[in-house]
């Protein structure tokens, strides 16, 4: 099971947080902060696993993260997940974002966190991996976006922000 998925930048600003167990808003913020502290003080070129079981209850939890440019992608998982598998999944996630946003950068995530959520929802559901095939994910995301577009009013054409 995946317990939580967090994306934050090099300064610890959250860009996306998805908890698959309920915590109060304060606890969530604290978890994000502590995770940031743990992850950010690690050098590049060290392994991507961290035993941070204290953050989210359950002692067999691990933090598995990847650092891309300005962003950290952190998955908190329990022992039923394969460590290397989750690393691959993060890679798939980022590549999918890259396809959906066309050269994704932090700003995309800042302004379109809802879209990121929608993409994530096609990959992970309720803490369990739903789909790992990037093409399948993109197909489903596109189909839903198309539907959304067909529903939008003329007045509501969303402004394109970057």
């Amino acid at each position: 099971m995946i317990k939580a998925i967090l994306i934050f930048n090099n300064h610890g600003k959250p860009r996306l947080s998805k908890f698959y167990e309920h915590y109060s808003e304060d606890t969530e913020q604290q978890i994000i902060r502590e995770t940031f502290h743990l992850v950010s003080k690690r050098d590049e070129n060290v392994c991507n696993f961290l035993e941070g079981g204290m953050l989210i209850d359950g002692s067999d939890n691990k933090l598995i993260y990847r650092h891309y440019a300005t962003l950290y992608f952190v998955f908190c998982v329990d022992s039923s997940e394969s460590e290397l598998g989750i690393l691959d999944l993060i890679q798939v996630f980022v590549e999918t974002l890259d396809k959906c946003f066309e050269n994704v950068c932090e700003l995309d995530l800042i302004f379109h966190v809802d879209k990121v959520h929608n993409i994530l929802a096609e990959m992970v559901m309720g803490g369990m991996v739903l789909e790992t095939n990037m093409n399948e994910i993109i197909t489903q995301v596109d189909a839903q976006n198309k539907m959304e577009k067909s529903e939008t009013f003329i007045f509501q054409s969303p402004r394109q922000d970057r």
């Binding site: 392994c47 290397l84 598998g85 739903l130 839903q144 959304e148 009013f153 007045f155």
Partner: protein, 1259 residues
Amino acid sequence: MALKIVKGSIDRMFDKNLQDLVRGIRNHKEDEAKYISTCIDEIKQELKQDNIAVKANAVCKLTYLQMLGYDVSWAAFNIVEVMSSSKFTYKRIGYLAASQCFHEGTDVIMLTTNQIRKDLSSPNQYDTGVALTGLSCFVTPDLARDLANDIMTLMSHTKPYIRKKAVLIMYKVFLKYPESLRPAFPRLKEKLEDPDPGVQSAAVNVICELARRNPKNYLSLAPLFFKLMTSSTNNWVLIKIIKLFGALTPLEPRLGKKLIEPLTNLIHSTSAMSLLYECVNTVIAVLISLSSGMPNHSASIQLCVQKLRILIEDSDQNLKYLGLLAMSKILKTHPKSVQSHKDLILQCLDDKDESIRLRALDLLYGMVSKKNLMEIVKKLMLHVDKAEGTTYRDELLTKIIDICSQSNYQYITNFEWYISILVELTRLEGTRHGHLIASQMLDVAIRVKAIRAFAVAQMAMLLDNAHLLTGNMQRNGICEVLYAAAWICGEFSEHLEDPNQTLEAMLRPKVATLPGHIQAVYVQNAAKLFATVLRKHEGATDSQAAQETSQLLVERLPLFVQSANLEVQERASCILQLVKYIQKLQQKDVEVAEEVSALFAGELNPVAPKAQKKVPVPEGLDLDAWINEPPSESESEDEKPKAVFAKEETKHSRPRHTEVDEKELARRREARKQEQANNPFYIKSSPSSQKVYQDAPGVEHIPVVQIDLSVPLKVPGMPMSDQYLKLEEERRQKEKAEKKKKEKKKKREKHGKGKKHDSGPESEEDITPAHHVDIVTEEMPENALPSDDDDKDPNDPHKALDIDLDNLLSGTNCRPLADTEKLPVRTHRSEPLKSPGEDGDVESVPQEPKKRSSKEKKEKKKDKDKDRKKSKEEKKKKKKHKHDAEDEPAELPAEEPVKSEETNEVATPPTSTSAEASDLDFWLSSTPVAPTAKEVAAPAPAPAPAPETSLAAAPDSEADEPKDAEPEEVKCSKHKKKKQKKEKEKEEKKEKKKKRHHHHHHHSDGGEDSVQNGTMEEEEPLPPMSNYCLLAENSYIKMVYDIQGNLQDGSQVVVSVIFENKSDSFLKSMEFNVLDSLNSKLQRPEGAGPHDGLVVPFQLPPGVSNEARFIFSVQSIVMPQKLKGTLTFIVKSEDSSTHEKLDFKLHFTCTSYLITTPCYSDAYAKLLESGDLKSSSLRLEGVNMPFHHLLARICFHHHFSVVERIDSCASMYSRSIQGHHVCLLVKTADQTVSIDAKCDEPSLLGNVLDEIKQTFSQC
């Protein structure tokens, strides 16, 4: 309307959208909080508008603010509004918001049930998808219960996109509503072979999660997973399956043997590191589970270790880390194979990555032996000196201590060395682990008697150099060791060379700066030292020295008397007065040493922390036996049951003890012998006999270590541990030389024997400790194990999912789905009946399982009937053949789908036998290739000896199994697809209800149908049972009914009535009416008068039956009652129609107010202890049915659940709809059943007991 929308949209243009909000926040870095609070105000305004687009936009922004840590739960209702928008765009926003901030405590969640249900059945797959995704995040027990059925239907959706989501979410549903696991499991299992890989992967995922927590229940799925493992190419699925096997193998070693080969193949063939790693992991798990090795065992270990070495040597830090992680698992069982890679692991200690260093440290822990301990610790000490950062250094320190102290200092051959290591460690700057070192010092000094003299000398030195330790405030943690030093010097002061000097050191003014608890120990032990000094000078001619010592104390102690610490002050003033008194006596030349020493006489032995708890019941003491004569039966009602319950509880624990005494004792004795054998300090009867096998080559294995003279920060007078390495070296060689001599002697006598051992490397036993040390073990009662009683977390949600699923399909103790296990269907709830047409529509959706089966039945009718007949015949045949376990599995795959359909409907009586279990056995016992007839025919591997008659058939069908299974399954899923396309027609519904009714009938008919009863075995299966009883009957119609409590509403019960048309005419316009009593009222639709009848929402063609549910509200549930009622209906034949009526009496038993509620034994015990319950009891004579039948009957008819069963005794629990607890203790002894009961409502209890009595009087 249109204008309004346009207007709303125009308004919206001026609202901020999410991007504006984000931009705004970024532009207001200075006063972010203030800006956001104005935004929230705006959002509140937006939420007040009618336009859903505006609302959705507001909710979208709230979702963002939630991520920033703002509580947005106040908008929960608006989120629900947005969720229920018909537009996908808004719906998605709503569900996202809900998934981010809803949780079990969100009260508006209960408003969403219907909306979610609607979305789940939406024709648009993305509506359904979004609802499922959202639901997966905020599903509550209520939602899970109410929607379980709908989601289960979606598991067979035509679109794989929906199927896979539905399958995944079932895991969440199981967690929240464990009762759904059994009904849903057959279909979940089916999905393992779904044509779509995504769905398959989801199913594997869910079952793996389930199995991880309760592996034993999923063992029977091993063959299926094995097939998947060998056929699947999806690495994700493979990884999950392989992980699952890792969890299963400990339970079934035979499975492991079967796995080794394919796993090894995968290891060789795969290029994916993730898969390779998991394979290695599972192979390790297999090897661990195979305690007795198989021949090619070592090859597998070698392969694993070799692959792991490649991982560890990889430049990728991740692989390195994981390699070390897996290595530590091998280490537990095969330390030798890991030890050969010591170089690699020591190398990892120098890695720049701390996680890797820590992993390597973990490995070292398991790699030490007597031989290499000193060397490894020396390496670690070097790292301690080099380490930057206190955390890693502290970690090293604890590891060193862990390594040395593990399993009772097993690997330490020289305790002087260890003490010096500890003393060296005290020089660590800024460590937090002073107390750890201190406790080690204390432990060693107390438990290793022979080392006391040395330890005391070292400690005296520490005390003397205390200023080095306490000089720096930063090193405060380390001063804890002074606590140990002072105590050791005091307690074992007889070993001190110069007690006076130590006494002086302990009373220095500087001591007053130490923490209070240490000062207290100083003072106390100064007194002990004083006693020793007095003894020393006793009898000596000049008493000068003794008097000087007294004087010293008298001078120095006042400093401590002024201490702010109470403990110090108290002890100091006590001792000061004592010393002053002694001083007086000394001046009178009175000998006092004896008396003073007596103050501190006696040895202080360590006691194991759990010793008290572990004191076993002595032999011959029976805690259950009456001390006095047991009270006679006629004693007061009130007292008796209490005693019974109390007695019961002790009984639970007693058998455990006796069992332990029998087997455990032998095992423990063995273990103790083993331990003694491994314990170098245990003086064996003939120590030399084991140690004679020595040879020169062994010497090379002993590492030669140079003395490192340039160790920094050398404390004057402090010993260096390194010197011991050298000493130890010499000692060992000398020993060896001696042994060699001995051996030579022996060799001359016995030539052949010695040779075998010559070439082998030096073994563990060969290293004898430097001096025979007698470890005083912690005091423990005889027979006690120091192990922990591990209590499982009672709050673990997975505990509830520990459900035996094998017997769902088939099994030895077959327990089919009971009525109460049906997934709830919406009509049960407080919806009054509607007009026939309307109701048909409403009902058809939620009653999916019934409909499904009915449709299927209709479609498949012929097919199925044939199948059934076939299986019936087969079974009959089997019966004739006295049933053979072997031929069962062959039939199983074909039968299962059918069975699973039925199980949803009604409680099917037990079918078949241990098929599943024997299936697994069979699978495990044979090679993957289909067995030849001979193999199967041999009765040995088969669990049940196979009678000859069935032999011919068995092997054939067995061999065919894999081929047969697949087409059947495919066929089945096809049917389902067809069925879903079918329109919902009323006719069909009736059809199905008729079926349903028939079903009930054959239950009550008592097993006329041999198919349902299955094949009988030694262990008698349960007879068929039904709760439906006759309500009324005439020549036209027959009504049977059952009453169930409504869990959601404490004041409601649901009466299900099955109407059966017995005539040749058409029955219509049925009206059901009941004369309400004060207590019980039929719930009528709004606007209806209190005496109006309810229209039964269907008509009955000839010979057809159907079921209707009526809801009654009740006030008091403590008494049973009867309600009079009438059914009126029109009988319409071809030429005429007549109005008929039928009177009936509805009997509301107290049982019908009870709801089967599971209860854990600990909660149960607590409940009984609480003392709030009144008790009563019941005796039944002449009940001659097996105990498990009896229990099953009580469970089934009276809605109880078994809490615990021990032999012929069981505790049961149930709860009324109003929350009364009812506890039963059922015991049986030769045809007499006694039931002791407790309940917080005595009259309810009395009535329930009466009803139970009646149940058993009828049979």
